[in-house]
Symmetry: C2
Subunit: 314 residues, 2 copies
């Protein structure tokens, strides 16, 4: 029996952005049915639907296993992003470590000696120990300037969801707030009980089912756009909450730099699909209305079930 | 600064089943607000709210890294579960391997030589090469006998969701169907283009954001109830769709046995919380209405955001 053939077919057809969508949608029978596969949609995308990375809003994390690229979200967490820039510029994380990997939850990094005032790494010049909580922004902040594109799909966690500048966004008109949703790959700033106890020194990335219950409870600062598997495939920590019980189990961080501080020739030449682009809208439809291998079309997506494509700069 | 202290607090308070729930819920202001934390709820749970594993419905997968326990779902996939029992009894997977790990999607195992008719492992006696598709069951099948408990929470993927015998279940009265939802840890049977091309020889476990778009498109056979991190923390495959491009990168499967075939003394003594129990209802409420560290209570959960607790048999 062709197990591997089957596996390949399964893989091919299950893969998020693959598969032609020719089946009639269930939930929205009258919705337009895309005739093109995700690959075809991407192949046909105009250059104007893609954007370069902003070096001032991009972190380059270097592990022995490779590079992790994190796009920051100054529109949603300006004080934290400013602090993270200062921390990166001061080499704060260089030589620190990944301290915690909890299965189906988060990978978290910071200062292993943070508890020991004598050993704790000092903050570099320009970095603040205390910041305001930035759990949400006024809903007006995701207007035209943020190029927010609303999803028509129902979301149980928030009355309004969509994408803004590549980020999954939720909003509640009644609360008058908008916030970054905790989807896979989203990066947040660890805090203690006090809402203003995060300063960006300790960061976590979501590595499992979107913990949307964290939304509006902690400051989200960005999202991993490349190298996610270097954070998600790490051994889970055996101690409580996924902390490593032995220092040697931690994964060392070689350094984290702001892309603006990386010599241009050494910067990863990556492009991100604009989430306000027609191409992104078509890709979402290709996931909403599945065909080919799919015999049932969900007629639905959510902000955490579609990830924004990146590509090497042509 | 107490980074680690902060991390611990963050970890403690972010952990799924932890955290007292004393905050007023957002979405359902009149809902009862649990006063007990998840730990307290579990500590207070009566023995009658727990069940033992059914040895005929449990797989014990042995990897060099440890044991993975999979609970099978005969109510939802009777033909596949019967075949999987025969495959396990015949030692079909013993010495085979994990062939594919695709980040934020699935870990998949089967016969590396499956494509080569000469090398492909033969099916043991009692195992069928061909089975019917078992993508759903009639909605009546999740009635009283299945002890289905409905969630009041809105789900964008299905008009009705809940839990039955420990499994996350979705249903659509209009379609007259019920099915197992693709949540983290759920195990399915790989298929090719033909809907009846799966036979349980090649299985996958969900290791990322719930790919609910697969629901009603493939046969779900069970879920991992212990050792999930042994499947989710594996190196991602570098080839297309997460397949390993070098045989030596694969993780070998020492053996997979049906628990009924494991000497009683060697069987993991594990109990699973009954999803029809008051304790489970209380735990769901403790996740729906958060307090303590949480300053915003989501007032919402979904079938993939809460995992059914297990414990060592007292």
């Amino acid at each position: 029996m062709k197990h591997t053939a089957r596996a390949l077919t399964l893989a091919l057809t299950l893969t998020g952005l693959l598969g032609a969508a020719i089946a009639a949608p269930k939930a929205q029978p009258k919705a337009p049915i895309p005739r093109k596969s995700a690959q075809e949609i991407l192949a046909a995308s105009p250059a104007s639907d893609w954007r370069a990375l902003n070096p001032d809003n991009t972190l380059l994390m270097e592990l022995a296993s490779g590079q992790v690229i994190i796009e920051l979200a100054p529109r949603f967490a300006p004080a934290h992003v400013a602090n993270i820039r200062a921390l990166a510029r001061g080499g704060y994380w260089d030589g620190l470590a990944i301290l915690r990997v909890q299965d189906n939850f988060v990978t978290q990094w910071g200062d292993p000696d943070g508890e020991d005032a004598a050993k704790a790494r000092a903050l570099p010049a320009g970095a603040n120990a205390k910041l305001p909580a930035e759990f949400s922004v006024p809903i007006d902040a995701i207007g035209k300037s943020a190029r927010f594109t609303k999803l028509p799909d129902v979301d149980g966690w928030a009355p309004r969801t969509g994408f803004a500048e590549g980020f999954p966004v939720a909003a509640d008109p009644k609360l008058g707030k908008a916030w970054l949703a905790h989807c896979y790959g989203v990066v947040g700033a660890g805090r203690s009980d006090a809402v203003d106890s995060s300063n960006g020194t300790e960061l976590y990335a979501v590595i499992g089912q979107a913990p949307r219950g964290l939304d509006l409870n902690i400051t989200v600062v960005g999202r991993v756009i490349k190298g996610m598997e270097l954070l998600s495939a790490l051994p889970r920590g055996a101690a409580a909450m996924g902390f490593y019980d032995k220092p040697e189990q931690r994964t060392g961080i070689q350094r984290i730099r702001l892309l603006a501080d990386v010599p241009p020739a050494e910067r990863p030449a990556l492009q991100v699909l604009k989430t306000e682009s027609p191409t992104w809208t078509q890709l979402l439809d290709a996931r909403r209305y599945r065909g080919g291998w799919f015999v049932h079309s969900p007629g639905h997506i959510d902000i955490c079930s579609a990830s924004v494509p990146t590509r090497p700069a042509p």
